[in-house]
Symmetry: C2
Subunit: 296 residues, 2 copies
């Protein structure tokens, strides 16, 4: 019998933590302070939404877990590096992340800069140093996929659009463009990279791509809703920061009820995109529910 | 008849500039400000020592120039990103680079941070999006090679060692460890990646590896000598900065004559490591001369 979702999530989160423990350079290896700061910034944090999506997509395409977890780690390292850089004084200037001091506060700014840089390199090392697909040419495509998702026309580009938007009133399409890049690109990459560790049919990839785009956007809309509703204590980060900085959000554009309605619509469309996959897509459907219905 | 070295260098530098022009995202593509800043930080700058080494190594192994130039661009983008981040106020706080304002001065710190991040992603995109070796598995090894050279046990690690060394008196082996990582790793990668675009014999790779290590170290020793001798006007960067920051250098450790002697020794050993290659290694030998004998 298939385990229930909560048990599956907990088991994956626990085993993924060991994966990261193993793949990050040991704290005793020189340069120690950098390696300690890398581990501090990655380990013991977050819900691991992107890795969970990679695992779930891998289940759909029959991918070996030992491969999916490497691909998932690569994506999570890119995510972690972006948080470290994003928290720096010249960006969002955040002092608290996941309930603990941000990297540049716990260490220093120069170290935080290098931590992010080195985490990005490590992500690409992971994608290239052992077979993740029997076909090396396909694995090269995985490297390209992550590079595009992380780069100036993906996540980093989304952050640039975000920077340019502070203090401006964005239209809904502009806000969507920002988030499709800033958050969506990496969520989509997590799903596709998990799938590519198996042997996905191209029809599967098309549907997963669509699912990834929808769920990535839903994730951000829900984030805006939660940020509006939550207080610092329950969220583990400084709540209301976006409003403080006069950043456009789905809530500021659509109002709270409108944003919630949009999240529901994206959720429904995401589930529809998985329509024909049946039981093998169960975890993906459950994750879609989890992302939209989460309260934290 | 083979062209002389100066002509070869000038031709390569010119064509490489077009390669970078082509491979960097166009300034009109959104997000425009980020793409403009990426182009500002990479184009029209530097002697392109790493690309020249890649071209020269590619000549030794019979690599197609159209492949070598992609690999060379990947290395140069990693180098350029490291300069952008290194110049930031939380690191070296430099306002001048290659005779023009540094990225964070010309744009802003947040943009400089993203420029560096996106240039690194682009480097890995370049190494993965088209065939650079007929064997995709070998090309994956090229990705790994660059990731290791850039990461916490390569360039970024060297910068961390550098940070930790400010205000301390290093021993010669400690200083060497720093530079082997900070500068040497990427110079070695440039040579090996250029070679891997062809079909190098493993004995060739071993010797190129040794050549790369020696010339990388020589490069740094000469840099220290030049930094000590040069003034701001001729160097195009703020001269004497290392001494100002109380950073250890080969000159501070060995004195000016000692550092010069060390550069000569490394130069000689580097040339010896190419001993048996004959005429196909001519450009590599000439580059070794160029690196050690340069006056700027």
């Amino acid at each position: 019998m298939m385990t229930d979702f909560a048990t599956w999530v907990a088991a994956r989160q626990t085993s993924f933590e060991s994966v990261l423990q193993r793949l990050l350079p040991a704290a005793e290896v020189a340069p120690q302070r950098l390696h300690q700061a890398m581990r501090y910034s990655v380990l013991d944090g977050g819900k691991r939404v992107r890795p969970l999506l990679a695992y779930a997509a891998g289940e759909l395409t029959g991918a070996p877990v030992a491969r999916v977890e490497i691909a998932a780690a690569a994506v999570e390292l890119i995510h972690a590096y972006s948080l470290v850089h994003d928290d720096m004084p010249c960006m969002d200037d955040d002092v608290l992340r996941r309930g603990k001091a941000t990297c540049h506060v716990e260490y220093d700014q120069a170290t935080a800069l290098l931590v992010g840089d080195a985490l990005q390199s490590l992500a690409f090392q992971l994608l290239s140093e052992q077979p993740l697909n029997d076909d090396a040419a396909k694995q090269l495509q995985m490297v390209k996929l992550l590079a595009l998702a992380a780069g100036s026309r993906g996540m980093a580009g989304g952050q640039a659009i975000d920077l340019a938007s502070v203090g401006r009133q964005l239209t809904l399409p502009e806000l969507e463009q920002m988030h499709i890049h800033k958050t969506g690109a990496l969520i989509r990459a997590a799903i596709l990279l998990g799938a590519h560790c198996g042997n996905p049919a191209s029809s599967q990839l098309d549907r997963l791509d669509r699912f990834g785009k929808l769920i990535g956007l839903a994730f951000q809309v829900v984030d805006d809703v939660l940020d509006c509703e939550a207080d610092t204590a329950t969220l583990g980060k400084t709540a209301g920061k976006d409003a403080d900085h006069d950043k456009p959000t789905y809530v500021s554009l659509l109002g709270l009820p409108g944003a919630k309605e949009m999240a529901q619509r994206l959720h429904r469309e995401a589930l529809e995109s998985l329509g024909e996959f049946g039981e093998p897509a169960r975890r993906l459907r459950e994750l879609a529910d989890f992302i939209v219905l989460r309260k934290f």
